[in-house]
Amino acid sequence: MVTVALFWLFAVGALVSGFLVFRLNSMARVTFALLASFVFVAAEVVLLGLAYLGVVIVLMMVMEMVIMAVFMVMYMMNPAGLMPMAMEHNKTGAAAISVGTFVVLAVGIVLVDWPQRAGMPPPDPTVALGEALMGPHMLTMMTLGVALFATIVATVVLATHRGRYDRWGDDLRVVRADEPVCGGIGR
């Protein structure tokens, strides 16, 4: 009974806070509304017996949303939300598409004859996850590792102010950078 009450509490919380993300004006409130949605979903994951993944989601999303708040304040023209403004286009079309998608998904969820439960949860799902990632799902873990490394390289390349072609131009045979300040800034 308590579990059912908690499910509904967390579900309504996740949906309402997710909806508030696109209704609030203040960028800080928007970010923390999204964080609240993630925390409610993490609580649902914990309810399903996946305590480790739930805690991982909370920890990761707290950091992610704090970083996102900084970017929101950096890039949004009205970060404090003191002057309400709309930054949306084609609201009606977007709402129609999203509602239609939900209806299609809901109809499928209700009508599909889902398979019966096969087996029981292991005594420690975290151990099972670790054994899977280090065993049959090792390729998944390796792929994620390479993807994260590629992300690090790509983000640095994208975010750096001066890339290779800024320094060297189009001539790939140049052996030394034609720096505007010889030896770099500060020398």
Binding site: V30, V45, I57, M60, S98, I109, R117, A132
Partner: protein, 101 residues
Amino acid sequence: MSLELFLLLGAGLFAIGLYGALSQQSIVMLMMGLELMLNGITVAAAAFWYYVAPSNADGQVLIIVVITAMAVEMAVGFAVVTAIFRARDVDMTDMAADLKE
């Protein structure tokens, strides 16, 4: 509780995120919509693990993949926003529409 209830929750979060991804002009807000869509997939994966095949860890592995996708999406998204803002003072999707040409 049942699998259907958790899947309906996931579908609701996915639909809200889809609305944000389609309607927001700010690239950062658009990324928030994408994150909400992945949030819904997280719930669905956890529910599938618990109600369909709890004896193997495939559902948990899928959640790990989704969490990683969230991190990658945010990092690359912010890098792209930084690059396009630095190059052209653009932080809105409508102002970057000529990129599709």
